[in-house]
């Protein structure tokens, strides 16, 4: 059963909060990781690994650098 966009968003919010301390409610689709959430590249690696554990979708390094917004990651995980 495929996870919904809402479920992915909630899961990402939890992961990002755990890793960066940013409130999960601030993790909304249009937000840019770098410009809006001030997340550095090392934290993005941690988020990608945690997302892989949570959703089973591996995010290769060459894809990760193209995922600029929360929505980009949600779309990638949904495939």
């Amino acid at each position: 059963m495929a996870v919904t966009e809402q479920e992915i968003l909630a899961g990402l919010g939890k992961i990002i909060n755990e890793i960066t301390g940013i409130p999960a409610s601030d993790v909304t689709p249009e937000k840019s990781f770098v410009d809006d959430l001030d997340i550095d590249s090392l934290s993005m690696v941690e988020i990608a690994v945690a997302a892989q554990d949570e959703f089973g979708a591996e995010i290769p390094d060459d894809q990760l650098k193209h995922l600029k917004t929360v929505k980009d990651v949600v779309n990638f995980i949904q495939g």
Binding site: N17, E18, I19, T20, G21, L42, S43, V45, E46, V49
Partner: protein, 410 residues
């Protein structure tokens, strides 16, 4: 003493120790003669012959928010807790960033990170390693984080000299200010080494006490029945400042950081040189560097780790280089041995002894070793006299490092 030299003063203190989560609680417990040594409850305790240690009284996770804590080795967490307390205590001074420095070291560095990360690597592969593994395991990590925390651009350094690390950091900090490079330096040491590999390795040297039936009585410097050191953890960090800078901002001043003396044994990698000549040289040099005579020194916070080999040699060296008159104490009897953190917390205790005119006791000296011919603060705190007085903190480390730091009242 050269009269044109920059005077360095101490304007802030910070610590997290087995006796308390800050300086005030630690100092109060020390003066009460309380032991911070407890049985270990971890499931690995059956694998090692030593079943007790001095864990910090306040877990760092209660102080540092989780997103920050997960990027820090435990030793870095201790260092940040202590440096933030010291910085606040100093009044969070306004300093030109290029004239603000950090010298904070650790004897072993991020050893728990290394070992845990290697387990992760073997079990799950490299992709599951935290991208912060390297900055967590490097021994200069704590100094780097503190530098970021306070915006220090005048130079961030990490001394590494085993159990002399914290004292050497403070000595280096004094010299950074004297040389004119910095106005303010945050300096000290941190250690988080309570791990079965470390305990097993120190036990393999036969260096640790195995008094498992009485952990609180295991650290007993100068006592005939001492059988090794007791491992502690934590951090002690001070804010050093040029007197001119401190006066200009009306800072509270604890003491003058009057000088530092270094020497090295060139004898054995892990045993003290039996004549104590190297230790004596460090103390003679600190007197010369601080422009003090032996008679000025009224108190020594000894390195005294409770090992059979080291304690008595140190007291003989104190007698030879300073005299038999100072009130000597070994606070490791209560905190255990914080390795790279020892020189940090023990410098703080030396500063507070001058500031409050009271020497904390050495506990567990039931039967004073016959070779001890100096005045030990046995069992009870001791008053220090009024007037201008000085004190020395000794710290020695595997590798043959000898460091003595002198402080004076204002």
């Amino acid at each position: 003493m050269s009269t044109d030299r920059v005077r360095v003063v101490v304007t802030g203190l910070g610590a997290t120790t087995p006796l308390g989560g800050d300086v005030a609680s630690t100092w109060s417990a020390l003066l009460d003669g309380r032991s911070g040594i407890r049985p270990l409850t971890e499931d690995w305790v059956d694998s090692v012959p030593v079943k007790f240690a001095g864990r910090v009284a306040v877990e760092p996770g209660e102080v540092i928010p989780r997103p920050e804590a997960r990027r820090l080795d435990r030793a870095e967490q201790f260092a940040l807790i202590a440096s933030r307390e010291a910085w606040r205590d100093a009044g969070s001074p306004e300093v030109e960033p290029t004239r603000l420095g950090v010298v904070v070291g650790s004897g072993i560095g991020g050893i728990t990170t290394i070992l845990d990360a290697y387990d992760t690597f073997k079990e799950k592969g490299w992709t599951r390693l935290s991208p912060f593994t390297v900055p967590m395991l490097m021994p200069n990590g704590a100094a780097g984080w503190i530098g970021i925390d306070i915006g220090a651009k005048g130079g961030v350094h990490a001394t590494v000299s085993a159990c002399a690390t914290g004292a050497e950091a403070i000595g280096y900090g004094i010299d950074m200010i004297r040389s004119g490079r910095c106005d303010v330096v945050v300096a000290g040491g941190a250690e988080a080494a309570i791990h079965p590999l470390n305990i097993g390795s120190f036990a393999a040297m036969r260096a640790m006490s195995t008094r498992n039936d009485e952990p609180h009585r295991a650290s007993r410097p100068f006592d005939k029945g001492r059988d090794g050191f007791v491992l502690g953890e934590g951090a002690g960090i001070v804010v050093l400042e040029s007197e001119e800078h401190a006066r200009a901002r009306g800072a509270k001043v604890y003491a003058v950081a009057a000088g530092v003396g270094y020497s090295s044994d060139a004898h054995h990698i892990a045993q003290p040189e039996p004549s104590g000549a190297g230790v004596q040289l460090a103390m003679s040099r600190v007197l010369a560097d601080a422009g003090l005579s032996g008679a000025d020194i009224r108190h020594v916070n000894a390195h005294a780790t409770s090992t059979p080999a080291g304690d008595v040699v140190e007291t003989i060296a104190i007698k030879e280089s300073i005299g038999a008159h100072p009130i000597v104490t070994a606070t490791k009897s209560m905190t255990g041995h914080l390795l790279g953190g020892a020189g940090g917390i023990e410098s703080i205790f030396t500063i507070l002894a001058l500031n409050d005119r009271i020497v904390p006791p050495t506990i567990n000296v039931d039967d004073l070793d016959d070779g001890v011919e100096v005045d030990i603060a046995r069992g009870e705190p001791r008053k220090l006299p009024d007037g201008q007085i000085a004190a020395v903190n000794n710290s020695f480390g595997f590798g043959g490092h000898n460091v003595a730091v002198a402080f004076t009242t204002l």
